[in-house]
């Protein structure tokens, strides 16, 4: 692994100047390294962060990659990480013209990392440096506590995909003073509806009473208001105190364990909390990349194409570039290519905005001919795609812009898969050309971890009670016991998980009869896992 030579670096710097002139906006400094294929194999399990903490699973992955490489040697072009300065890795045998295209692509990614709001929590630190400090910390624990460090890493990682990424983002820009005080919150959201079982009308009346007091004297409003509440409901104070003791400020399960686990509170186990925090922060750092794959690749592809085609250094390499670019951005006959879909969607957004189609006026039109002919020549295309780059995730892009026009224009369809026992083959067939089906297929393919939280009302020091919010998909059953055993370790006592499983009735004739839902409760104590049904009325 070594720095790019001066010749190639000069090309990169030239590309940066031109990209900036075109409107992209990113930090001045970047670092480029030449890496061998072997380096790449070793870096990939660490998600290309050279300083990421060591962990045996990564070593297993590296050994597997070596094996794979023996059979299927590959030659990756580049990869870029969201660090400060942004670091990108290259193969050392690319010709100059290819490097220009690749550099533009990389610059697109850097611009995206540094401007898309989903990355906001990564903007203040250089993750490569943070990771190095974390790696040293874990290494120091490893020398003190041996393999138990790796167990803690393992168990923390077993829930690092359900970190509260969006909650963390929301917290960042949240203006605290807009939130009512915790006592008000409790009174209106818990005490009135749950304890007193007041109906909405009464709650509304109470809110009005508070608002009137607030309007006349904002400073004194709360104390006056609660003086009256306490005289009317003497039990309020103790109820509030109870709730405050239990209230979890945690955004996710890892944080909940760190804050509340009786096992981790013991002096001798405190160090585990720092390991868990490292795992959580690392997971949060990677979270936005998983949620912006399509829009990020689309954005980088859009810019490498636009910039390189307008670059005089392309002269003489047009044909070779076309072939390379097509390999990257052409729609697959069967399968999903995030580069292609992302690029097409961005181009579509640009066109809509250029013609003024993102307007009420356009949306009111009904006739296809009128829609087709609509063109206000507003020229807002660039502005629109910059907004997408700043604010959109994959889900938002797909959910907002995949429609029948888009699907038809690019001849897109949902591919189905079915066995043909007579021929002994699996057949791929055109299943649907409807936009709603295509959109659903895209959204189903997106990264979406389950939502699992601790239920504070059912959790005690002896027993941690987790609830899975069922979204139509069950959890992978094979993994549940293993994860629970790890959580059992981190909580120090029994752990329960309430989830929903889908029962399949093989004899059913209609699709509706085929599936039924069953709530189940997993319980893990002393590394033994049991499972029982939960009766609906009880739950």
């Amino acid at each position: 692994m070594h720095l790019l030579d001066q010749h190639a670096k000069a090309i990169m710097e030239e590309c940066k100047v031109r990209a900036r002139n075109a409107g992209l906006d990113f930090d001045h400094e970047t670092l480029e390294y030449i890496v061998s294929n072997k380096d790449m194999l070793e870096l990939s399990p660490k998600v290309m962060i050279p300083t990421l903490y060591d962990y045996w699973v990564n070593d297993v992955e590296v050994l597997k990659e070596y094996g794979k490489y023996k059979l299927y040697p590959t030659n990756p072009y580049e990869t870029v990480i969201n660090s400060r300065p942004a670091i990108s890795f290259y193969n050392d045998n690319n010709p100059d013209w290819m490097n220009i295209m690749i550099f533009y692509h990389v610059i697109g990614h850097i611009d995206f990392f540094q401007n898309n709001r989903l990355f906001e929590h990564t903007w203040n630190d250089d993750f490569v440096g943070v990771a190095l400090a974390d790696k040293r910390l874990i290494e120091s624990y490893r020398s003190r506590y041996g393999r138990w460090t790796d167990y803690v890493v393992e168990f923390a990682r077993s829930i690092d995909n359900i970190t509260g990424y969006f909650q963390t983002l929301a917290r960042m820009n949240y203006d605290g003073h807009l939130e009512p005080s915790s006592m008000l919150n409790f009174y209106f959201n818990t005490f009135l509806p749950d304890h007193l079982k007041e109906d909405e009308f009464h709650i509304f009346k109470e809110q009005q009473r508070y608002n009137t007091l607030f309007d006349s004297n904002p400073k004194m409003a709360e104390s006056t208001f609660f003086a009256q509440v306490k005289s009317r409901h003497p039990e309020f104070e103790s109820a509030y105190k109870n709730a405050a003791d239990k209230a979890p400020p945690a955004t996710d399960l890892l944080e909940f364990l760190i804050d509340h686990s009786p096992f981790l509170k013991q002096e001798k186990n405190r160090w585990m909390k720092s390991v868990m925090t490292v795992i959580r922060n690392t997971a949060l750092y990677f979270a936005p990349q998983m949620r912006t794959k399509i829009v990020n690749e689309g954005w980088a592809s859009y810019w490498h194409d636009k910039l390189f085609r307008g670059d005089n250094r392309i002269i003489g390499h047009e044909v070779a570039y076309s072939a390379l670019n097509a390999g990257v951005t052409s729609l697959s006959r069967v399968g999903l290519n995030p580069y292609a879909i992302g690029l097409r969607l961005l181009e579509y957004v640009e066109e809509l905005a250029d013609k003024g189609k993102m307007s009420r006026e356009y949306q009111k039109l009904i006739l296809a001919d009128e829609k087709e002919a609509f063109d206000k020549k507003t020229g807002n295309g660039q502005e629109a795609i910059y907004k997408v780059r700043e604010k959109f995730s994959d889900f938002m892009l797909i959910n907002t812009f995949v429609n029948q026009e888009f699907v038809d224009r690019h001849n897109l369809f949902v591919t189905g898969k079915r066995p043909n026992p007579e021929k002994g083959v699996i057949e791929y067939y055109v299943k649907s050309r409807k936009a709603e089906d295509y959109k659903k297929m895209l959204i189903d393919s997106l990264y979406h971890p389950p939502v699992i939280r601790a239920d504070v009302n059912k959790t005690t020091n002896d027993s941690l009670y987790l609830v899975h919010a069922f979204e139509g998909k069950q959890l992978i059953k094979d993994f549940i016991p293993e994860v629970l055993i790890g959580l059992n370790f981190l909580w120090g006592d029994e752990v329960k998980l309430e989830t929903t499983e889908i029962m399949v009735n093989q004899k059913a004739e209609t699709e509706e009869e085929m599936y039924s839902l069953q709530k189940v409760l997993y319980a893990c104590k002393d590394k033994k896992v049991t499972k029982s049904k939960v009766e609906e009325n009880a739950a």
Binding site: N411, G424, H448, K473
Partner: protein, 446 residues
Amino acid sequence: MSNSDKYKDRQNLPEHVVRELELIEKRQESLRDDMSVNTSPYGVNDWEILPGFHEPDLTPIASLKTLEDLLSQDKRREEDGFTRRIRLGKLIKPAPGKKGKIVIVPTTTEPKFYHDDSITQEEETGGSGEGEEGEVIGQQQAEPQQGEGEGQGAGEGDSASHEEGTNAFDLGKVLTEKFKLPNIKDKGKKRALNKFVYDLTDRNRRFGQLLEKKATLKKIVETNILLGNIKPGEPIDTQNFVIGPRDQIFRIMSAERDFETQAVVFFVRDYSGSMQGKPTEAIVTQHLFIYSWLMYQYQNNVLTRFIVHDTEAKEVDNFQQYYQLQVAGGTRVAPAFRLVNKIIAEENLAADYNIYVFYGTDGDDWDSDGKELTEELKKLFPDTSRVGFTVAKNAWGGANKTTVEKTIEKSGFVEKRRDEFRIDDFQAESADENRLIESIKKLVSP
């Protein structure tokens, strides 16, 4: 140009420029004088100053563990009360017509709470281009695909290329050491090879590579008894000892003819219709493990023969075919062992080799009395080191004994032929790697 000349030229220059120039000159001079002096405490490092101390290696994977470390760490997990996590997988690159490549790699999965899409979500993906709804646009072989997948796949056993042999050898080593498979009890070295090894085995007086102290001392004592320096009953004064040049005895390099043990393994399996799916997978995986283990035990000197049977038996060329072949026919076990006996007799294998026969079946046999099979096996035993039967039962069979098991039970081989014969059975559906290893232990233990 002297200093005064220099300053003369500068008189026309503005004063601040002159001052600047002087400063630069002063700095240059001091640099020339103090080339080796470090002006900052942060400018020196151990790796520049200390002899033999090198710059720390900053490669990201400096701490990469070896497979052996990983496996021994994995073993510790059991002692700590957690399940083992590393599995040995095979990666196969298919090469139709020719021999595929196989590498052994470790794999692991991190259990997490993931959504399970397998029930609710149909397998769909995107597509683009022409085609009406419902139109078939492509197809794929429905058989378990050779290749890209990991884990349970076909292997290549014929060990044609060096690389494959090496990998099977490594796997065998791991299996032997980590899973505590027994070592082979040597049945005697059978085959003389024209191979020489060089070792310090011969002795030579006066010169050589390594002084043999004990023998030399004996010679010295002998010499000194003859010279009268050692007298019976009197104290020995070693200072008076005389050491003759011929007293020194050395070891010297010499060529040794080596005898090596070789083994031939017959892998035999039922490939009739009922074997489809799990039973085949279990049997073939187990046979690959056995092959690897023997490769290690015999230091790569293992020949393999592959035989498949339905109602007839036939020999196939390589592991690939052994794994892949599938017919819908019925099942008769005896012909398979008749073929094995025939090959052993025709090629006179028993004279030169340790012979192993491993047979995999789901237990089905149309000869319900099993007489023929019993006869063939009786013929086979005297020539073999071990015959191992694996019965990978299909789920629908329940706990009943299969025809093959009944035949074996009736023959009484398990008790009478303990040295040559072993049998093991399990449910194919639930046979994981550990169960297969367990089974191998049963089949090969002394």
